[in-house]
C-alpha cells in the first residue's frame, strides 16, 4: 500500500509503491478512485486517474489491486450501457441517481440475473481453450456461446444444465489432479488483443444500408475505416446509421468524449427501431459505451479498448461484429493531456510521438479470423472510427496517423454539409481498398456492379472538371452533351448518393435496391444520349417526367422496388424513345 505524493489534474504520483506493475489498476484515496499505473520510478508510481481528483490530499492511501485493467465478459453484455470503465450506467443510475459521483462502483454484468445454460459437451470430453462448452440465449438475436478461457484444458469432470448467475460454477475441468471451475463469466485485459488461430483478409460486404458506402466505397467484413469530418458534417449521424443498420451479428457503439444529448438520442432510438431483416428491436444486438465529453478524460482510452475487447470476445464465438468509435480524436486529445502532464517530449502539435502506434493498436485489432477451439468457426471485427480534425483540416496529426492504418476513407466535406447534401461523404476524395474484397459478393448479387460503379464515378469526375468551366462561362454556354452530363451527375448526386437518415424508407436501402437505382439513372443517361444524337434538345430531356419519377425512387420501399422499377424502365424506354422521334 502506498500514499499520494503529488496530484496534478488526472496525474497522481504515489510513493511506497514497490512491487507494483505498469498498467496495474490502483485505488486512490479514501474514496477508492480508479487509476492505472502508467510508469514506475524507484518507489514511485505514476498513475493516471480515471476519475476526477478534486479534493485529494497528499499522503492519502493508494492501494494496488494486482490486476491489469480488464473487461468482464459474459452474458448480460448485449443491450447494456457502460461508461468508459465498463460500469453499468443504468445500475449507477439506480444506485446514486442521475449524476455520476466519483468513486461509485457498478459491475458490468448483473450478478443476480440467472441465465439458462445448455451444455454442448458432455462429461469425459477433452476440451481446450476456445472450445464452446455450452450456450446461453442472451437476447432474441444473440446466442451467447460460453468458451473455455485461455490457458485451460483437460477433460470435463462435471457440467450442469439449468439457470445460473454469472458467478455460479457450471463446469469443472480436470487436468491431472487439478480441477478448474468455470462460470459463465471471464475477464480479459483490455489492452491485449485476444488470440486466434489464423487471420484472413477482409472479405464479403458489410451491408450498411447506405448507398454511397455499399455501392461506391464498400466496407468489407473485418475491415477498418475512418470517417473524418469537421463539425456539422454529420459524422455522428453517419456513425449512428452504421451502428443501426449494419448487417452484422452485433454492433458496439463507443461514444468517446462526445455529446450527452446525442448519446441519449441514440439510446432512445435503439429502444424503438427494428432490424430491417429480423424485425427485432435493435438494442438486442447492440452494446453501448457512453463516455461523454464531461466524463473523466483518461477513461476515454479505456472506453475504446473496452469496446474492442468485447468485440473480440463475440468474434471468438464466431460472430461478425462492427465497432463504431465516435470520436478517436477525443481519445488522442486525452493522450496529449496525459503526455503533457507527464512532461514527455511532444511530437506534432503537442501530441505524444507514440500516438500513431497507440491508434494502430486499436485499429489493428480489426480483422477476419478463424477462432480458437472447436467447433471450427470464423468471426470478424470491423472497425469504423470517427476523426474530428480541428478546422476540418485533414493535414492534422490524428487524421494523418489514422490514414496510415485504415483501408477505407469516408471523407466528410464541409461544403457538401453546408448544401445539406447528406451523408456528406465526398465522392472524389473518399476511397475504399476493399473493392476487390467484395467483388465476388456483389457479382453474385448484381452482375455488372463494377462497371456501373466505375461509370457513375466517371460521370462525377467529369462533372467536377466541367464545374471549373461553368464557373467561367456559365452553364448555358456548354455544348448539349456536357449539359446532359451535368444533369446526369446531378441525378447521381441528388437521387442516389444523397440519403436521408430520417426518412422512414430511405434510411435503410438494401443493396439490391441501390444497384437498381443507379442502373436506372445510367440507363436514363444512355437513352438521353441517344435522344441528343438524334437531334432532341436538352430542354426536352430536362423536362421529361422521367426525371421527376427517378427523383422519387428513394421513397419506394425495398420490397416493392424491383417490380416498380421494371415498370419505370419500360416507361422510360417508351417515352424517351418516343421523345427521340419527335425532336
Amino acid at each position: 500500500m502506498g500514499k499520494i505524493w503529488r496530484v496534478s489534474g488526472p496525474l497522481v504520483i504515489a510513493d511506497d509503491m514497490k512491487g507494483s506493475q505498469v498498467y496495474e489498476v490502483v485505488e486512490i484515496g479514501e474514496e477508492g478512485l480508479v487509476g492505472e499505473i502508467v510508469g514506475l520510478e524507484g518507489n514511485k508510481a505514476i498513475i493516471q486517474a480515471h476519475e476526477d481528483t478534486l479534493g485529494l490530499k497528499v499522503g492519502e492511501v493508494v492501494r494496488g489491486t494486482g490486476r491489469i485493467l480488464s473487461a468482464e465478459l459474459g452474458p448480460g453484455l448485449v443491450g447494456s450501457i457502460y461508461d468508459g470503465l465498463q460500469k453499468s450506467l443504468l445500475t449507477l443510475g439506480e444506485n446514486i441517481g442521475p449524476f455520476i459521483k466519483r468513486g461509485a462502483k457498478a459491475s458490468a454484468l448483473p450478478r443476480d440475473k440467472k441465465w439458462q445454460f445448455t451444455p454442448k459437451v458432455k462429461v469425459g470430453d477433452a476440451v481446450s481453450q476456445g472450445d464452446i462448452i455450452g450456450v446461453v440465449p442472451e437476447t432474441n438475436l444473440i446466442e451467447h456461446r460460453i468458451m473455455v478461457p485461455l490457458g485451460i484444458k483437460g477433460t470435463i469432470k462435471e457440467i450442469r444444465q439449468g439457470d445460473y448467475t454469472v458467478e455460479e460454477p457450471v463446469t469443472w475441468i480436470e487436468n491431472g489432479n487439478e480441477v478448474k471451475e468455470l462460470t459463465l463469466m471471464q475477464e480479459w485485459p483490455v489492452r491485449k488483443p485476444r488470440p486466434y488461430k489464423q487471420r484472413f483478409d477482409p472479405s464479403g460486404l458489410l451491408t450498411t444500408g447506405m448507398r454511397i458506402l455499399d455501392y461506391m466505397f464498400p466496407l468489407a467484413l473485418g475491415g477498418k475505416a475512418s470517417i473524418p469530418g469537421g463539425f456539422g458534417t454529420g459524422k455522428t449521424v453517419a456513425l449512428q446509421q452504421l451502428a443501426r443498420w449494419a448487417q452484422t451479428h452485433l454492433n458496439i457503439y463507443v461514444g468517446c468524449g462526445e455529446r450527452g444529448n446525442e448519446m441519449s438520442d441514440v439510446l432512445t432510438s435503439f429502444r424503438e427501431l427494428k432490424d430491417p431483416n429480423t424485425g427485432i428491436l435493435l438494442q438486442e444486438k447492440e452494446i453501448f459505451i457512453a463516455n461523454t465529453s464531461n466524463m473523466p478524460v483518461v477513461a476515454r482510452e479505456a472506453s475504446i479498448f473496452v469496446g474492442i475487447t468485447m468485440a473480440e470476445y463475440f468474434r471468438d464465438m464466431g460472430y461478425d461484429i462492427l465497432v463504431v468509435a465516435d470520436s478517436t480524436s477525443r481519445w488522442a486529445e486525452a493522450m496529449r493531456e496525459m503526455s503533457g502532464r507527464l512532461e514527455e517530449m511532444p511530437g506534432e502539435e503537442g501530441f505524444p510521438s507514440y500516438m500513431g502506434s497507440r491508434l494502430s493498436s486499436f485499429y489493428e485489432r480489426a480483422g477476419m479470423v478463424e477462432c480458437l477451439g472447436n467447433p471450427e468457426r470464423k468471426g470478424s471485427v470491423t472497425v469504423a472510427g470517427a476523426v474530428s480534425p480541428p478546422g476540418a483540416d485533414f493535414s492534422e496529426p490524428v487524421t494523418q496517423n489514422t490514414l496510415r492504418i485504415i483501408d477505407a476513407l469516408y471523407a466528410l466535406d464541409v461544403s457538401l454539409a453546408n448544401k445539406r447534401h447528406f451523408p456528406s461523404i465526398n465522392w472524389l476524395t473518399s476511397y475504399s481498398l476493399y473493392v476487390d474484397a467484395v467483388k465476388d459478393w456483389w457479382n453474385e448479387y448484381d452482375p455488372g456492379w463494377e462497371d456501373t460503379r466505375a461509370s457513375a464515378l466517371r460521370v462525377l469526375q467529369q462533372e467536377a472538371e466541367l464545374e471549373e468551366i461553368v464557373r467561367l462561362v456559365g452553364p448555358e454556354a456548354l455544348p448539349e452533351g456536357d449539359k446532359l452530363l451535368l444533369l446526369t451527375a446531378r441525378m447521381i448526386r441528388e437521387d442516389f448518393l444523397q440519403q436521408s437518415a430520417y426518412h422512414e424508407v430511405d434510411t435503410y436501402c438494401m443493396p439490391a435496391k441501390a444497384g437498381l437505382m443507379l442502373k436506372t439513372i445510367m440507363k436514363f443517361y444512355e437513352l438521353a444520349q441517344e435522344m441528343l444524337n438524334s437531334g432532341a434538345g436538352i430542354e426536352s430531356i430536362r423536362s421529361s417526367p422521367m426525371v421527376y419519377r427517378i427523383s422519387r425512387m428513394k421513397d419506394i420501399p425495398n420490397e416493392a422496388f424491383e417490380q416498380r422499377v421494371k415498370e419505370l424502365w419500360s416507361e422510360m424506354d417508351q417515352s424517351l424513345v418516343t421523345g427521340k422521334r419527335v425532336p
Binding site: W5, R6, V7, S8, D15, T53, L54, G55, L56, K57, V58, G59, I81, L89, L90, L92, G93, P98, F99, I100, K101, G230, F231, G232, G255, G257, R259, G260, N261, E262, M263, S264, D265, L267, T292, S293, N294, E333, A334, R336, E337, G340, E349, G350, S388, P390, G391, N418, R420, V470, R471, L472, V473, G474, E476, A477, Y502, Y548, S551, R552
Partner: protein
C-alpha cells in the same frame, strides 16, 4: 459554529510569485483544487486555489493576480473546501461577481446548500433527449435552426455584429407553445465591456425579466482569473434552479472568447505545452465540461438550455475557439458580415448555421407537419440561388437561363422577406412557414421535390382558398 476551524492549515514559505501563480513549500493536508486565502504582509486577503500539490510544493493560483504579494510576510491559509456557490431560491433577481459575491448592494444569500461549481456529469443513460420547441419569434432560427429545451446552441459572431441585440430579442420573445411554466434566466458576463453588460441588464429590467434573472458579472476591468469561474458559477446556479427548483432555465454566457483567452493566459503561466495557437490542449474538455451541463433528465421537470455567445477572432470559423465549441455544442447560429452589410437584420448565415436538435423539436403537434419539408426545400432553393449568384458575378445575370433567373430572384427575396425581420417583430412559427410557402410560389411547382405532395396541395398559396 466554530469559524476558526475553517482555517486549519497554514503555510508561510512562498518561494516564487509570478503572474497569478504562487509556489509555496508543501502545506500538509492541503487538498487538490482546494480554495485558500493568501494574507499579505499589509493585511489584505486574496483568494486562490491549489492547482498542483505534492510533498515538495504546492502551486497556488491567485485570483486577482499576485500584485503586492511578498515572499516573506504573506501567509497561505487553507479553507478545507473547493470553490462552492451558496444557493437558495433567493438568488433570483440578484447580481454577483465572478467569485459569487453579491455586487448589487444587497445582503449575502442565506444558503440552503453549498454547491461545487464544477458540478457532476449527468449520467448519459438517464438523460432525456431534448424535444420541446422553443419559439424565439425569429424566422431564421425557428424555421431553419430551431432551438429546443435542454440544447446548447451558441451564437458565433464577430466584433461589431448585432449579437447582443439578437440575444436580447430571444430573451424577450422566447416561449414554449401552450405552456405556462416556471422559467428563469441566468446571465453570465465574462470579460465584456461595461456598456455591453449594462445593455443586457437594462433590457432585462425593461421587460421585467430581471426579477427571475440571476446575473454573474465579470467586466473587462475585473480580474482575468475570475473569468474562469464566472461561467461555472452561472451554470451551478442554473443547475440548482433546474434540478432542485424544477425550473426551465436559459443560460446566456457572453463572451466565451474572453473565457478561452483567460484559459490560455493561465495555461501559459503554468508553463503547459500549448496546442493550436497557444490554447491549452485540454480546452475541448474544459469547454465540454461546462456545455454538457445543459440537458434534461428523465423524471425531472426542469431543464438547462445554454446559449453561449462568442466572437470569432477575425471572423474565422476555423479558429480554435469556434472550432472546438462547434464540436461540443448541438449546432451553432453563425452571423454573417455580408448580410449585415446588406442591411439584413438578424444577419444569420443560413448555410453555416445548424441546429442538431431541430428534427426532434419540430413536426406535427410540436410546430406544424410541413415544417421539416419546408425547411429542406427553403434550404435547397436558397443554396441554388446563392450558387447562381456567385456564377452571375462572373458571367452576368443575363447569361443565365430562365429557370436560373427565377432562383436568383428567389434568393434575394428569401433574404429580404424570410431572414429579415424587425427587432421588435415576433413571428409565430406558422407565420414563418407561411412566408416560406409564399416564396415557393414563385418557383416551378415540379421543383418542390423535397416536399410531400399532400403538403403542396394543402399549403401552396395557389391551392389555398
Amino acid at each position: 459554529m466554530d469559524f476558526s476551524s475553517l482555517y486549519v492549515k497554514e503555510g508561510r514559505a512562498i518561494s516564487k510569485a509570478k503572474g497569478s501563480l504562487l509556489i509555496a513549500e508543501s502545506i500538509p493536508g492541503i487538498k487538490f483544487n482546494e480554495m485558500v486565502d493568501i494574507q499579505l504582509g499589509n493585511g489584505e486577503v486574496k483568494s486562490g486555489q491549489a492547482i498542483d500539490i505534492s510533498e515538495e510544493a504546492a502551486i497556488i493560483e491567485v485570483f486577482g493576480g499576485v500584485s503586492e504579494v511578498d515572499l516573506i510576510g504573506s501567509k497561505i491559509r487553507c479553507k478545507g473546501e473547493t470553490l462552492k456557490l451558496p444557493v437558495s431560491i433567493d438568488i433570483s433577481g440578484r447580481i454577483f461577481n465572478g467569485m459569487g459575491e453579491p455586487i448589487d448592494g444587497g445582503s449575502r444569500v442565506i444558503p440552503e446548500d453549498y454547491l461545487d461549481i464544477n458540478g457532476e456529469p449527468i449520467n448519459p443513460a438517464l438523460r432525456q433527449p431534448p424535444a420541446e420547441f422553443i419559439e424565439t419569434g425569429i424566422s431564421a432560427i425557428d424555421g431553419l435552426n430551431a432551438l429546443v429545451r435542454g440544447q446548447k446552441l451558441p451564437i458565433f459572431s464577430g466584433s461589431g455584429l448585432p449579437h447582443n441585440r439578437i440575444v436580447a430579442q430571444i430573451i424577450r420573445q422566447a416561449t414554449v407553445k401552450g405552456k405556462e411554466e416556471r422559467f428563469a434566466l441566468v446571465f453570465a458576463a465574462i470579460g465584456i465591456s461595461y456598456d455591453d453588460a449594462s445593455f443586457f441588464m437594462r433590457n432585462l429590467e425593461r421587460t421585467g425579466a430581471l426579477e427571475r434573472t440571476v446575473a454573474f458579472i465579470n467586466t473587462a476591468s475585473d480580474p482575468v482569473i475570475e473569468r474562469i469561474s464566472t461561467p461555472k458559477l452561472a451554470l451551478t446556479a442554473a443547475e440548482y434552479l433546474a434540478w432542485k427548483q424544477n425550473m426551465h432555465v436559459l443560460v446566456i454566457l457572453t463572451d466565451m472568447t474572453n473565457y478561452c483567452e483567460a484559459l490560455r493566459e493561465l495555461s501559459s503561466m503554468r508553463e503547459e505545452i500549448p496546442s493550436r495557437r497557444g490554447y491549452p490542449g485540454y480546452m475541448y474538455t474544459d469547454l465540454a465540461t461546462m456545455y454538457e451541463r445543459a440537458g434534461r433528465i428523465l423524471g425531472k421537470e426542469g431543464s438547462v438550455t445554454i446559449m453561449p455567445i462568442l466572437t470569432m477572432p477575425d471572423d474565422d470559423i476555423t479558429h480554435p475557439i469556434p472550432d472546438l465549441t462547434g464540436y461540443i455544442t448541438e449546432g451553432q447560429i453563425v452571423l454573417s458580415r455580408n448580410l449585415e452589410r446588406k442591411g439584413v437584420y438578424p444577419p444569420i448565415d443560413v448555410f453555416l448555421s445548424l441546429s442538431r436538435m431541430m428534427k426532434e423539436g419540430i413536426g406535427p403537434s410540436k410546430t406544424r407537419e410541413d415544417h421539416n419539408n419546408v425547411f429542406m426545400q427553403s434550404y435547397a432553393a436558397y443554396a441554388e440561388g446563392c450558387y447562381l449568384r456567385e456564377i452571375s458575378t462572373i458571367i452576368g445575370a443575363e447569361a443565365l437561363g430562365e429557370r436560373d433567373k427565377i432562383y436568383l430572384t428567389n434568393a434575394d427575396e428569401f433574404e429580404r422577406k424570410f431572414i429579415s425581420q424587425g427587432e421588435w417583430e415576433k413571428r409565430t412559427v406558422e407565420d414563418t412557414l407561411d412566408i416560406a410557402w409564399e416564396l415557393f410560389s414563385t418557383l416551378p411547382e415540379e421543383d418542390l421535390k423535397l416536399i410531400k405532395e399532400e403538403f403542396i396541395k394543402k399549403y401552396l398559396p395557389k391551392y389555398r382558398k
